[in-house]
Amino acid sequence: MTTSQRRVVVTGLGATTPVGGDVASTWEGLLIGRSGIRLIEDERYADLPVRFAGQVAVEPTEVLERAEARRLDRCQQLALVASREAWADAGAPEVDPERLGVVVATGIGGIVSLLEQNEILNTRGWTRVSPMSVPMLMPNGSAAWVGLDLGAKAGIHTPVSACASGAEAVAYGLEMIRSGRADVVVAGGTEACIHPITVASFAAMRALSTRNDEPERASRPYDKGRDGFVMGEGAGCLVLESEEHAAARGARVYAEVAGVGLTADGHHIAQPDPEGRGAKRAIAEALASAGAAPSDVIHVNAHATSTPQGDVAEATAIRAVLGSATDGVAVSGTKSMTGHLLGGAGAVESVAAVLALHHRVAPVTANLEDPDDEIGLDVVHGEARALRGGDAVVLNNSFGFGGHNVALVFRSA
């Protein structure tokens, strides 16, 4: 990838998360360390080792029309809420439908709808299985619904790379515009898979925090007491636009999507390379493709899931790439408040990274009370931190089970 390609900018943002039902309330929460993690009030979780998660702050059914919501899986509902906010935030750009693309990622898609319909099959027989089952469970369903909502015809895509999916959607959207396939792309990620079987499945991997007595303190990236990630749900969306298209309509520009790095670990199906070599290559490629030096980086929205191994591996990778510049970089782990939105994480964190750059303030990392000596990063905690002005870039890292690594670089507009 070279820097001579078409420049792509971010002109709209949308999100619905455990911290807030839109971008403004989510961002406000991330700056003050407001946790969206709560106990799950559902007796089906009573015998599970984990009985809490980050459920969205605003139910999508409060936002969408009833007849519309009933045809959609929850992850699709959240994707529509976030994409509509992003589209409106961008000023509902006028664009030829054949030049408008949609990329909405998910890790698992409509698994909860599938489970519900399986229950109906087993109790009432096949004649009561919903004719909407397939559109609800198919992983590309969210992207397809967002595409129908906007009338997009340049192409509709769904990257699936576990917890890197949302960031991969931004990378794919960037490429669609750079390669000339589209002028505007709505890119995002969504997930809504909190269910006893998914909680049990992640718990069976020993991947989840079991801090049931203190849910709000369970997601604690970089803290010595971290004991796993916290499942969350939600969606984030960004409107990406070629610089010419945005300029021609006088759009407000938040940032440029300047670089991307995509690599694979080739190490293990679920464990990170302990030295973060795949992550390191992704970060290095993202910075190189943006033409950015380590000293240009003012902030990292880290993947930082609060797992014992993953946080150290990522920190090792960041330090390996940024070298001596690492000490001047404000690192934030926003999963400390949102929980881990899986396929939605990379998109919501891209929104947060873009806002950090736009407003020049890094969100806090909640629950960091006893920093792990192995981390060696300047982690923002206690209160949000002002970032320096001038030309600068921010980095957003996302990694997924399977060994997927995605690093995105956003540059000040």
Partner: protein, 79 residues
């Protein structure tokens, strides 16, 4: 025509497609007038079978073009 069945059917169409109940009259066609597509029609049929205790075979559904057609079919099936 049974007003009770018409009202029950209107409630189902409203639930499935969001069409205002007042717009759901006997002369309206499901697909052309009421925002019902082939998938929602399956949902409407399923809900009618549950609500009115009748069976509506797939082969009959293509004959139920209007709300009036469906009310008449349900009335006959209940008799």
């Amino acid at each position: 025509m049974s007003q009770e069945i018409l009202e029950g059917l209107a409630a189902i169409v409203n639930e499935v497609a969001g069409t205002p109940v007042a717009d759901i009259t006997a002369d309206k066609a499901f697909i052309d007038d009421l925002d019902i597509d082939s998938l929602s029609m399956v949902e409407v049929v399923m809900a009618c079978e549950d609500k009115f205790g009748v069976s509506i075979p797939d082969g009959e559904v293509k004959n139920l073009k209007t709300v009036g057609d469906a009310v008449a079919y349900i009335e006959k099936a209940q008799a």
